[in-house]
């Protein structure tokens, strides 16, 4: 439990947890509840998109192409972020489907962190960047380092809600502000690898959720 790192004091009790190993974190919360120290001032860090509204439907142009069955153009959405916490050196961005894999994620994930399927893992986004234009996450760029999604891909992989009478799925974009130099992490990290590397380096996170139903 010595690996627990104080990230940020939050919520009403000033409780503190770190980006730690999955099981260890929950097990440790009780021991961390006392002696919490607030290390980061919350700034209203916020993620938004010109492509869709928080909680609203995402356009079909962002949906996946073959073999998904949707034949979407697979264009990554516009994203912008503001008010990062002080001390931010780079950002990491993950996109997950809440309903994917029956809510557990595919077997390639570790069934943890409350995520379903992991569709996008990028990081090393320099603090000078505050937006991605539409399509910018479709090809490698100096504005980010590619990780690996559940398909082993390092770029945008659009929504592929199952066909039929499926209720809308929820796609969560989580932007994590870190104190890590943009070039510090190697390319190709999986979601699980990234979370481990962010342990003790995450300052705050901003979330944006879009929905999509297979027409």
């Amino acid at each position: 439990m010595s690996k627990i790192t104080v990230v940020v004091g939050l919520q009403d009790r000033g409780r503190v947890v770190g980006f730690t190993g999955v099981v260890a974190a929950l097990a440790c919360i009780a021991s961390l509840a006392s002696g919490a120290e607030q290390t980061t001032r919350l700034t209203g860090f916020m993620l938004s998109s010109a492509s869709f509204k928080d909680g609203g439907l995402m356009p079909t142009r962002h949906a996946a192409g073959p073999p998904c069955g949707l034949n979407g153009p697979n264009i990554s959405p516009q994203l912008a972020w503001t008010n990062p916490p002080a001390g931010t050196k780079s950002y990491a961005l993950i996109e997950t489907s809440e309903e994917g894999g029956a809510g557990l994620g595919t077997w390639r994930n570790n069934y943890s962190h409350g995520v379903g399927d992991v569709n996008l893992v990028v990081y090393g986004i320099p603090v000078s960047a505050n937006a991605f234009v539409e399509g910018e996450l479709n090809q490698p760029s100096p504005n980010y380092v590619s990780g690996k999604n559940r398909f082993g891909q390092g770029t945008w992989r659009g929504m592929c809600a199952p066909p039929g009478a499926s209720a809308p799925h929820h796609y969560m974009f989580k932007m994590i502000a870190t104190d890590i130099d943009p070039k510090a992490l190697p390319a190709g990290l999986s979601f699980q690898d990234l979370i481990k590397r962010l342990e003790g380096h995450a300052l705050d996170a901003a979330v944006l959720i879009g929905t999509f139903a297979n027409p």
Binding site: G18, G44, G55, L104, F151, A161, P162, M172
Partner: protein, 200 residues
């Protein structure tokens, strides 16, 4: 070693093998068939919109920033996958604890005959659910309480249809323990998202 431990071991081995980078599998299986339109809704709030303050946690000596009455929201679900034997319900504050995320409600063993919870019904134990252990070490609804100065937080309610009998799982499971037990037993999921920001 029982079947569950066995599956766990095999699963962990598979994950370790894959993440070692020695293979790259591109066969894509999208979600769980069959899709029935399984959907979770609430009369307390709409998907993607603000939760009312009465759902938030109450102010107290240890919770000076909280602004609500801690009344659990109404929830209802429809069109479950076939042969559901029980449901599991979790509520996840996805921005909580610096982005790590907090689980404020863990409930499972919900019988298939149950299709809704009235407001406040998740505030006390009942035969309609088995309480798991949330991040606050409680076993019933624990309303949201984002700190001052944040942008709106997102609260994901996720209902998983399972093939477990309602009394198969012991009470008090944490989120991680529940997720482990649901491996191979989850038949479909539906989510509902509310947002909340502390009033100025």
């Amino acid at each position: 070693m029982d079947k569950f431990q066995c599956r766990l071991l095999i699963g962990a081995g598979a994950i370790a093998f894959i993440s070692s980078g020695s293979v790259s599998i591109v066969t894509a299986v999208e979600g769980p068939p069959p899709q029935t339109g399984f959907i979770l809704t609430s009369t307390t709030f709409k998907d993607g919109e603000m939760l009312p303050a009465r759902v938030a946690f109450t102010k107290g000596p240890n919770s000076p920033n909280c602004v609500g009455e801690n009344i659990s929201p109404q929830l209802a679900w429809d069109k479950p996958p076939p042969n559901v034997k029980s449901y599991a319900l979790t509520m996840h504050d996805v921005e909580g604890s610096g982005g790590y995320g907090d689980f404020d409600l863990i409930a499972y063993g919900i019988p298939p005959s149950v299709r809704s919870f009235a407001e406040g019904e998740l505030n006390r134990p009942s035969d309609k659910f088995v309480g798991g252990r949330n991040v606050w070490n409680t076993f019933t609804w624990r309303g949201m309480c984002p700190p001052p100065g944040t942008s709106p937080h997102h609260y994901v309610f996720r209902l998983v249809a399972t093939d477990y009998e309602p009394k198969d799982l012991p009470p008090g499971l944490t989120y991680e323990e529940l997720q482990g037990r649901l491996k191979g037993h989850a038949k479909g999921a539906t989510a509902l998202v509310g947002v909340f920001v502390r009033p100025k």
